[in-house]
């Protein structure tokens, strides 16, 4: 019996010849990522060692990555003190994959990991963040865990009692029309599967559209796989993965690609033809409340947000700059742009995108999570509405339970910034 990609990765990491969905395994962890919630991980990690007479020392500091992104620069003394405590831990244990609050090498964890080549095809990656699914874009089995589970990983070096997920195979064919892209595809898929349709399952992406898709686009679809409840989204590594890791991440050591067996067993197969796909919008307050843009065109919005680990990459900023160049953001709209990393910010500066966006009236913010999770900046007022390229629109997500968030692609966000209402980029702004 053949194995899916996830089964193959888990078999290797668990030292087994064969695993199948439902088996319980204890895979060695290749990379363990945390952000500011490392503060809680450190507490729990020390708790594990409490009373043992042994010093709390991580199993392998070289496999731990810590990236400050959720509240950068710190918005409160509490956060600043958490960050300070983490810095001390990082220094004490020689954690090299540490990205502090910096304009050059800082950024959002899910952008930093691929960008610096920390993730490889076939890796088992865990992260104390639900969007850790992102790293499936590089062919890794990558899933979100809580802080206590991370403390356990730091102690043992493996994840305990992991159930091998069943896999949903998603096969995508066709060509995107102009102004339609990976974000529209994943929103459409989440609308189809529902917010719990892939709970406890992995999603494996296949098909000509995926093969042709850049790593940047694959990061979008794997990132949001968790919004269908998936444990992990994964694109089996291929030539594009090698290109990205060699050319963009500067990886020089050997890379092995893992592909599914031809007779792998899938729980179900979902086929999507994107030739006729239109821009998709997730409406308040659920990410699976997805509608084709035609149904919501003209809806008034107060804040446009472009950024996050979902759509804050260079191609997203290029799209926004192309649409807004020489135009103006509507007077009654605030437009916030936050690049996913310092490196991307620098590239967008060099290419003039930042200039274009600022001249149009956008506020370009430092890279980090910014308004995405509503803790730091860019909060909404009562009864206000945002249109955002981020990945979640639960009630209160942008800091105010009396506001609403629509999710969309960068093209839709940029076109709508010009008009102040949800606008189909294929029709263009005024």
């Amino acid at each position: 019996m053949g194995m899916t990609v996830v089964e193959k990765i888990l078999a290797r990491a668990s030292g087994l010849a064969l695993v199948k969905a439902g088996d319980v395994v204890e895979p060695r962890v290749d990379l363990a990522m945390s952000h500011e919630n490392a503060a809680l991980v450190i507490n729990q990690f020390k708790e594990v060692y409490e009373g043992s007479g042994r010093e709390a020392t991580p199993w392998d500091s070289s496999r731990i990555a810590i990236i400050f992104d959720h509240r950068v620069p710190a918005e409160s003394p509490k956060t600043a003190t958490n960050q300070k405590k983490i810095r001390e831990f990082v220094a004490q244990h020689g954690i090299a994959k540490f990205h502090d609050v910096r304009g050059d090498v800082g950024g959002i964890c899910h952008q930093i990991l691929p960008e610096y080549g920390y993730v490889r095809p076939g890796f088992v990656v865990v992260g104390t963040d639900s969007h850790t699914t992102s790293h499936g874009a590089l062919g890794a089995f990558s899933f979100g865990i809580g802080a206590t589970e991370m403390a356990s990983v730091w102690t043992l070096g493996f994840a305990v009692n992991v159930e091998v997920p069943a896999t949903i195979k998603v096969v995508v064919s066709g060509e995107f029309s102009e102004f339609v892209g990976p974000k529209d595809l994943i929103l459409h898929l989440i609308g189809t599967l529902t917010a719990q349709g892939a709970n406890f399952r992995a999603i494996e992406f296949h098909g000509e559209t995926i093969r042709k898709m850049s790593t940047s686009g694959r990061l979008v679809i794997c990132n949001m796989s968790v919004e269908a409840g998936a444990t992990s989204g994964i694109v089996p590594g291929d030539q594009e993965t090698l290109r990205y890791l060699r050319e963009e991440a500067g990886v020089t050591d050997e890379i092995t690609l893992t592909t599914p067996d031809p007779d792998a067993v899938y729980e179900r197969v979902v086929e999507i033809d994107i030739n006729t796909l239109t821009p998709q919008i997730a409406c308040p307050h659920m990410v699976d409340n997805v509608k084709p843009i035609a149904e919501v065109v003209g809806t008034k919005v107060h804040q446009i947000v472009i950024g996050s680990c979902t759509n804050g990459r260079l191609d997203d900023l290029a799209m926004a700059a192309d649409i807004l160049r020489g135009k103006k953001v509507a007077q009654d709209v605030r437009m916030l742009v936050f690049p996913a990393s310092g490196r991307i910010f620098g590239q967008a500066l060099d290419l003039g995108y930042v200039h274009d966006l600022m001249k149009a009236g956008a506020v370009v913010m430092n890279s980090g999570c910014g308004p995405c999770l509503g803790v730091h900046e860019g909060a909404l007022g009562d009864d206000e509405t945002a249109l955002s390229t981020t990945n979640r629109n639960f009630k209160g997500r942008m800091g105010n339970p009396k506001s609403g968030v629509y999710l969309c692609s960068p093209a839709v966000a940029a076109a709508s910034a010009i008009t102040g209402v949800i606008t189909d980029p294929r029709q263009g702004g005024k």
């Binding site: 919630n37 809680l40 507490n43 206590t148 305990v160 719990q196 409840g229």
Partner: protein
């Protein structure tokens, strides 16, 4: 016997259970203050401890979806409450088990706020309506962690001897 102190709908997210604004607060002694912070009335009832320990939060499908923030589980756990839901999102379920928050998956549960339930090993009995609903057992992989009293004691058991 335990009372349902709130009935919630489907897709209750961790943003709802523990809003992101309070994520810098991490200590299990401090997180309960922000449990369902944006549901002001319920949050006030919780803080006033106007319920018996072991009372029930009744959820629908996909309870705890969204962020991996463990504060969502520790905040509920701090009040000694039990979550009964039709099904539970993976990360929240794992966090609950890791922290010793009691969660019961009961796909067909039918109850209202104020109803009295008993949680038996294989079923939930709604004493108010007299109806019984089967419990979906937790996967064996997770039961081992519950039996150890949570993931920290379980990890201690699994550590290599010196």
């Amino acid at each position: 016997m335990a009372k349902v102190i709130i009935k919630l709908g489907a897709d209750i997210s961790t943003d709802d259970i523990y809003p992101g604004r309070y994520m810098a607060t991490v200590l299990p002694t401090e997180t309960p203050a922000f449990c369902f912070a944006d549901r002001t009335e319920f949050n006030t009832r919780l803080k006033a401890k106007a319920f018996e320990p072991g009372s029930i939060i009744l959820g629908g499908e996909n309870f705890g979806c969204g962020s991996s923030r463990e504060q969502a589980a520790s905040a509920i756990n701090g009040y000694g409450l039990v979550v009964v839901a039709q099904n539970i999102s993976r990360i929240f379920l794992q966090n609950a088990i890791n922290l010793g928050l009691r969660v019961v998956i009961c796909p067909t549960i039918d109850a209202e706020e104020g109803h009295e339930l008993t949680l038996e090993p294989t079923e939930v009995v709604n004493l108010t309506t007299g109806k019984r609903f089967p419990i979906q057992p937790l996967p064996p992989a997770r039961q081992a962690i519950i039996d150890a009293g949570g993931l920290i004691p379980y990890t201690r058991q699994r550590m290599q001897p010196v």
